[in-house]
Every structure is written in structure tokens, then in C-alpha cells.
Amino acid sequence: MLKVSSLSYSYGRKLALDDISFEVQPGRCTMLLGPNGAGKSTLFSLITHLYDSPQGRIEIAGYNLLQQPCQALAKLGVVFQQPTLDLDLSVLQNLRYHAALHGLPRAEADKRIQEMLERLNVSDRRLDKVRTLNGGHRRRVEIARALLHRPALLLLDEPSVGLDVPSRRAMVDHIHALAGDSHMGVLWATHLIDEVSDQDSLIVLHQGKIRAHGSVADVLQATGSADLDAGFRALTEAA
């Protein structure tokens, strides 16, 4: 679903990403772990085509992002770290706006919006202004929005920031179930170890380099750690 090859990026002389390569497989979550300043935001900016890098290659669902940006972005759903819903519009209006940007006809858009809101248990709030929703509900709406155009790859940039514990747990469970059900690839940036499940794939990014990549068991074995917390510290503190 996502193939990143030999990607580097620098801000002037400061190297933010240093020759990174990895793949995100369909049907499972790939968790991108890294401390602040590891290069996660830069990587997400490149995958969402906010920047282009002259070095390396990014493919989304087989489309080269540099050469076929529209086709590649059509296959991408994103939940940004910062809330990006328009607070003065209703849930329905926000989602219709997104559907319009993806070229969905109104009838089809409304059908999908209803389905998605029901699935995420927020359909009763569809006519409410986003401003009146709590953090958990807003996140659900953002997830519904990211899925509306049925992407092949879902990008989550620390989506649990600002959520209380039950909302965070519900969201983590839901996304994991969704990845399995829909055969969608999920790349999930986080620095919260407890969001990782045993079935996930793992990438540890630190100082612009990939320090570990594989299943949770692989990473534990490679670092000789008893748990992921210790493994993560071993990878990010040793460097």
C-alpha cells in the first residue's frame, strides 16, 4: 500500500530524514514510533505531498507520488495530529466538503457519510456544529472523513493527542479492527507504546534514521528487551 525507498530530506543543512526505506502492508497497522524530533512529521509531510524530496521515492497503492500526485493522493486518507475540522460547520457539512474535494457525487457522498457515521457511532450528531462536539467525537468524525473516499492507505499522525483514556482506547481498538476488516494499510505515528498491539508491524525512527523495522516480536528479539518500552528506550537512547 505504501512503499518508501531511499528517502532523504533536509532543511538546509539539517538532515531530517536519512535514507529511509520501508513498506506498509494491507490489512494491518504499521506503527511508527519515535521521540519528538525523530522525523515523523517530516515523513508525513512528504507522504501527504506537502513537500517533495529530490532524493528517494514514495509510492501509494502503486502510484509514484512525484509523477502521479493526484492518483496517489486519491488513495490516501489522513487524520492529522492537529484538529482540522471546521468548527463553525456541522459534521455533515464538513464531510460533504471533503467528499466534494474527492469528486464524489452528492447522493453517493451522503450515503457513504451516513454509513461511516453509523459505523463510528456518531450519526446522531451529524447535524450538530463541530464546535459542540467533545474531543473524542471530533476525532471519530475526522476518522470518518479520512475513510470517506475509501482510501487504500490510512495515515494517522498521533491521532490520540488530547483524548481521554476511554476515548483513546476505543479509537485504538477501532482502527485495529478497521485495518483487519477492510484490507487497508495503516501507517500510524505515535509515541505511546500502549497503542501498539502484538500483531502490528513496527518502525522505530530516531534522528532521521530507521532504528528497527519488523513485527513486535522481531524488534523485541533484536533489542533483547522484555517489553516494548525497554526496547524503544534501548533503540532511541543508545543512538
Binding site: 529530490p54 512525484l66 496517489a72 492537529q82 457539512q93 469528486g103
Partner: protein
């Protein structure tokens, strides 16, 4: 996969519809956009009426009141402020991250920026017509056909000033820098133009001021509007506005280009 015309149309409809909806529901923005030029009209122009005599200059065929003279300038002011307001909100959106939802859409960036520009321009035209309606009630009335013929002029000048805002939003790094825009962009553009005084009046006081106003593209926008209100086309002004619009738009698109633009140099991944 090729993007269909319908995709473009639906996206355009979505972007324009959202902007208009937001505008209609932001009553404070509407009122403040209207109060500023009305204050100029009712207070400033009324005060200066007796001191500033306006000779007969095209497109006017008779002596006119000062209020009549500055009405096109105030329409330009509405559009200038609206362009800057759009720019301000784009910088804000970028700082807040919501600009990303637009830029991550599967459409060419030039199209997204043009659609955003068109949406902002339509809002400025609504404001301009609301101002004209109040001015009409105050006795500043053009021929009925003038209200139609001014539309394309407002569209073109609104696009030019919106493109200026778009370009500024691509080069301004932070919201705090916006105060500088007021001092270095809005005020010079407005005061060094034909908005408040005709060129011959400026020439009487200073040759330099005259030259600056003569070659200020904002003057061209105002003259285009002024002539259009009287059903006439000022070809030179139209050409200057069109050329400036194209130049500003090309620079703004360059500014937002993911591989070449100004955004890259900022080193800000939170855009």
C-alpha cells in the same frame, strides 16, 4: 486514472460553497467589512467634500461630489481588505494545520489555489454590492446598467487582490508577521493610489507621489471599477489588472509548489 471534469466542478462547488457559507454565518466579519468603507464614505468624504474639488475627469461628464469620486476607491478597499483577510486566514489555517486538508486533496495545486481565490473573490463581490446598496440609499447612485457592468471589473480586481493575498500567505511564515503587511502592503497600496484623489491632484502636490500612484496596480483596479460603474471599459486599466493578476497568481502557485516553493524553505513540518 484521469480526473474528470465533474470532479473539478464538484471540488470547485465544495470550495466556493464552503467559503460563502462561512461568510454568511460570520455576521461580525460581514458587518466589519461594511463598516470600514461606510465610515470613510459618511465621515471622511463628507468632511473633505468642501475642501477637495473634483474637476471633470473621465468617466464623469459633470462635476461630482467627493463621495461619488471615492466610491470606486472604497470598493477597491473592500476587496483589498478581503484579499488580505483571506491571506490572514490561510496563514492561520496553515499554523493550525487545517490548510493540509485542502492541499492533500487529489487535485492539482494550481486548481485548489485558484478555486480558493475565486471563492474569496465572490465573497468580496458580495461585500462590494452590499456597500453599493447602502451608498445607493445615501444618494450615490449609478445607472442601473452600471451595477451589472461593474461585476466583471469587480471580479477581475478581486482576483488580482486575492492573488496578492495568496502570494503573501505563501511567503509569510507566522501570523505575527501580519502586522507588517498592514504597514507595508495595505496602506501604501491604498494611499498611493487614485482611491482618494485623482492623479492630477496628486501631481499638483508631488511628482513622485503622482508617479507612484500612476503605476500602482491598485490604481488600475480602481479605475477599472470606476469606468465600469459608468458602463465604460478602461482598456489600459483592465490590461494592467489582468497582467498583475497573472503575475501574482503564477508566483503564488510557485510559492505553494511542494518541490520548488517557499514553503520548503521554511522548515516547518506543521504546515
Amino acid at each position: 486514472m484521469t480526473l474528470s471534469v465533474f470532479h473539478y466542478l464538484r471540488a470547485l462547488n465544495g470550495i466556493v460553497g464552503r467559503e460563502l457559507f462561512r461568510f454568511v454565518h460570520q455576521r461580525e466579519r460581514f458587518i466589519s467589512a461594511l463598516v470600514r468603507p461606510l465610515l470613510w464614505l459618511f465621515v471622511f468624504a463628507a468632511g473633505f467634500r468642501s475642501t477637495l474639488g473634483i474637476a471633470i475627469i473621465p468617466p464623469y461628464e459633470t462635476y461630482i461630489l467627493y463621495e461619488v469620486y471615492i466610491t470606486p476607491g472604497l470598493l477597491g478597499m473592500i476587496q483589498l481588505f478581503n484579499g488580505m483577510q483571506s491571506s490572514l486566514s490561510m496563514v492561520y489555517d496553515r499554523e493550525m494545520g487545517s490548510m493540509r486538508t485542502l492541499l492533500v486533496s487529489p487535485l492539482p495545486r494550481w486548481f485548489l489555489l485558484t478555486a480558493k481565490l475565486l471563492a474569496g473573490t465572490l465573497v468580496s463581490i458580495l461585500q462590494a454590492y452590499a456597500f453599493l446598496a447602502v451608498a445607493w440609499g445615501y444618494g450615490i447612485q449609478a445607472e442601473p446598467a452600471g451595477y451589472l457592468s461593474v461585476f466583471p471589473a469587480l471580479l477581475l480586481s478581486g482576483l488580482m487582490l486575492g492573488a496578492l493575498g495568496l502570494l503573501l500567505s505563501s511567503v509569510i511564515k507566522q501570523l505575527e508577521n501580519f502586522a507588517g503587511v498592514m504597514n507595508f502592503v495595505i496602506f501604501p497600496l491604498f494611499f498611493l493610489s487614485t482611491a482618494l484623489y485623482p492623479l492630477w491632484k496628486l501631481q499638483e502636490s508631488s511628482e513622485l507621489l503622482y508617479l507612484l500612484a500612476r503605476y500602482n496596480p491598485f490604481s488600475a483596479a480602481i479605475e477599472l471599477i470606476r469606468f465600469a460603474l459608468y458602463g465604460r471599459l478602461n482598456v489600459e486599466a483592465g490590461a494592467v489588472v489582468l497582467a498583475t493578476l497573472m503575475m501574482l497568481m503564477a508566483s503564488a502557485i510557485y510559492g505553494y509548489n511542494p518541490s520548488k516553493g517557499f514553503m520548503q524553505r521554511k522548515g516547518n513540518a506543521n504546515i
